[in-house]
């Protein structure tokens, strides 16, 4: 085996190196983040004022659908897989991932999946227009012809996720350096291990549900059609059986990242390590028994409604434990606020706000008023943007000096943070208000009473988008800068990654490191 990377494009096409593949994943997700972001800005531009100005309702629905799909499956999930590829082997003292060749495939099928997905925009009848939750029969009997391509794309990215998850589990369970016991692993590794199990459990369910759609559309079955003895509500049950764990797939690794960053900049060990592990595991378990809270208005018998309401409320307990642990980690530390810490602290605050609205949504009778309004949109964006996006951003600022050996520009990083923070709150906070005031989600035009807050949201969205351009610029400048980072980068951080040089050698830990108590 060669000691350095191959040269030219071949390095990237055929690489089996976990660092190269991590880099590929991260750049791919960044690209998807911008594409999904452009879709979001089309939505916000149309919603700037009442009336139809920029796009027609058909295209608007395609935008909401594609924005959701691209952000969930193209931006957030691959970004986390990229971080896992880079960091998991290093954090557990392994030389590489357990299955390097599969690692290469699991990345390289993704661009195909998303080429198919995005190309549907140019097909006759347009791209999928039935929302990222693609409820039948709107997505079967009434779908545009491009739905078949959508199904193929979902299958491919599902396969990619499952391969990635298998690889991560195999790596964590088999390649830990001697002395790296399970309860010594960094929390990022723990949360990813649990996430990977969730992926293996539910991505096949997603594959199953789109397969049933495919059969209903092309082979005359009627899983979801009442005419043939099926039931459109079955679709929602199966979808959310996948969908709710999926939501946690997008947040658990974020918990791991924040649990790495906050101790570093508090100069204090993480509070309650083992309770963090147990809390993560219980959140993962609960995610399998709460799916019907997405369907409170569908017509569920009373006892079912009560069961799902109680189970959902229960999630607040382990989530609360996590938040309290982070706050206590900061308490009586010696805090400094470099860019990664700013993003991590914003994560804790804003994610908690998203958690509060989540608790409100769990209350079934109140949900009759919140369901399918902008209150829900506000809720899940408060959980996902500060949750997933901010934690990924924090991770990039935190580890970029390690990956590249170059230090980013702190002023620019902080500017990015404040612009993103203000943009995010301007965009999503008013959505709570319009939702409570009665604005349904997924509408291209709205009544006049919602106009003012929507205008603010739209302005915030463009500000948030601009902040991300600054992020891209900062990264490119860092990669080309001559400002070298030290091996430790931060002040006395904890973890094996900081024992390696910056940047780490192409093949690290070819002999296992010694783990101190």
């Amino acid at each position: 085996m060669a000691h350095g990377p191959a040269s030219g494009i071949g390095r990237w096409l055929f690489t089996t190196n976990h660092k190269d593949i991590g880099t590929l994943y991260l750049w791919f997700s960044f690209l998807m983040f911008f594409i999904g972001g452009i879709f979001a800005l089309v939505i916000r531009a149309e919603l700037f004022e009442p009336g139809l100005q920029i796009v027609q309702p058909e295209f608007f629905n395609q935008m909401t659908t594609m924005h959701g799909l691209v952000m969930v499956f193209g931006a957030v999930m691959p970004a986390f897989v990229g971080l896992a590829n880079w960091m998991v082997p290093i954090m557990i003292g392994a030389p590489d991932m357990a299955l390097p060749r599969m690692n290469n495939w699991s990345f390289w099928i993704l661009p195909f999946a998303f080429s198919i997905m995005v190309s549907t925009l140019f097909m006759e009848g347009g791209a999928p227009n039935f929302g990222w939750t693609f409820y039948a029969p709107l997505s079967t009997t009434y779908a545009p012809p491009s739905v078949t391509f959508f199904i193929v794309a979902v299958h491919i990215m599902g396969a990619s996720s499952i391969m990635g998850a298998i690889n991560i589990i195999a790596t964590i369970l088999n390649l830990r350096a001697p002395g790296m016991t399970m309860m010594k692993m960094p929390l990022f590794v723990w949360t990813w291990l649990i996430t990977a199990y969730l992926l293996i459990a539910v991505m096949p369910v997603l594959a199953g549900v789109v397969t049933m759609m495919l059969m209903d559309i092309h082979f005359g079955t009627s899983f979801f059609s009442a005419a043939g003895g099926g039931d459109p509500v079955l679709f929602q049950h199966v979808f959310w059986f996948f969908g709710h764990p999926e939501v946690y797939i997008m947040i658990l690794p974020a918990f791991g990242i924040v649990s790495a960053i906050i101790p570093t900049f508090s100069r204090k060990p993480l509070f309650g390590y083992s309770s963090m592990v147990y809390a993560t595991a219980s959140i993962a378990f609960l995610s399998f028994i709460v799916w019907a809270h997405h369907m409170f208005t569908v017509g569920i018998p009373l006892f079912g409604e009560l069961f799902f309401m109680y189970a959902t409320m229960l999630i607040a307990v382990p989530t609360g434990v996590k938040v309290f642990n982070w706050v206590t980690t900061m308490f009586r530390g010696s805090l400094s606020f470099e860019t990664p810490m700013l993003f991590a602290v914003a994560f804790v605050i804003l994610f908690t706000i998203g958690g509060f609205s989540g608790l409100m949504l769990a209350i079934a009778p109140a949900d009759f008023q919140y369901h399918d309004t902008y209150f829900v949109v506000a809720h899940f964006h408060y959980v996902l943007v500060p949750g997933a996006i901010f934690s990924i951003t924090a991770a990039v600022y935190y580890w970029l000096p390690k990956w590249s050996g170059k230090m980013y520009n702190e002023t620019m990083g902080k500017t990015h943070f404040w612009l993103a923070f203000i943009g995010l709150n301007l965009t999503f906070f008013p959505m709570h208000f319009v939702g409570l005031a009665g604005m349904p989600r997924r509408i291209p035009d709205y009544a006049l009473q919602f106009a003012d807050f929507n205008m603010i949201s739209s302005c915030g969205a463009f500000l948030f988008g601009a902040a991300q351009v600054l992020f891209l610029f900062n990264i490119i400048r860092t990669l080309n800068s001559s400002h070298k980072a030290t091996d430790q980068v931060w002040e006395n951080p904890h973890g094996l990654e900081w024992t390696l040089p910056s940047p780490p050698p192409y093949h690290s830990f070819t002999t296992p490191p010694a783990i101190q108590s």
Binding site: A98, L99, I162, A165, I166, I169, A170, L173, N174, L175, I200, A201, V202, M203, P204, V205, A207, G208, V209, T211, M212, G220, S222, F223, A226, A227, G228, G229, G230, D231, V233, L234, H237, V238, F241, F242, G299, I300, P301, L302, F303, G304
Partner: protein, 185 residues
């Protein structure tokens, strides 16, 4: 190293089997499980199959109001309506009602009626001994039919229920029915 490789391989195979198993679970287990779940809870008001037990003691003390609704799913051109919109029955008593259907088109068509009953907790207590919804309904163009429904409201119907509403939705399944394909041939 080879030992570690063997461990990895065994784990990967296990994980792959789990993945395939979950796929099969979603495709082959979840839908029938949902059916069972619906049967038990009455979710979506699906009423049961043909009721075989025929005699029940009639409770003359109690009167239940049963409402009938007939609807067409979209693009279904049939005229379809209940012949009586509301009747009063005693629990345990077997009653016969009927719906009127007419195919106003020039073509042979096949329809399927899908029942739905509210409140959901009554579905276990609504027994159909004869129903046009048990099978497909073929009708020649221009013809009409009397569609018969015979049912018993169980004498154990929970006390708090006084009204049952039964809706049938007519779906056009001409394309899917074998009879139609045979006729086309």
């Amino acid at each position: 190293m080879s030992n570690a490789n063997k461990n990895v391989n065994r784990l990967v195979i296990k994980l792959l089997i789990t993945g395939v198993g979950m796929f099969a679970f979603a495709l082959f287990v979840l839908p029938p499980m949902y059916e069972v779940f619906c049967d038990i809870t009455g979710l979506n008001g699906k009423t049961g199959e043909r009721y075989e037990q025929s005699t029940q003691t009639v409770n003359e003390q109690r009167t239940i109001r049963v409402q009938f609704i007939g609807k067409n799913n979209e693009a279904m051109p049939w005229q379809f309506r209940p012949n009586q919109t509301e009747i009063k029955v005693h629990p345990g008593q077997e009653v016969q009602v009927s719906y009127y259907a007419r195919n106003p088109t020039e073509n042979y068509m096949v329809a399927q009626a899908v029942p739905s009953l509210v409140p959901y907790d009554a579905t276990d207590y609504f027994h159909k001994t004869e129903c046009f919804c048990f099978s497909n309904q073929p009708l020649e163009g221009g013809h009409e039919a009397e569609l018969v429904l015979r049912f018993i409201v169980d004498k154990d119907l929970p006390e708090h229920i006084h009204t049952l509403t039964l809706a049938y939705t007519m779906f056009d399944i001409t394309e899917y029915s074998d009879a139609a394909k045979a006729a086309a041939r």
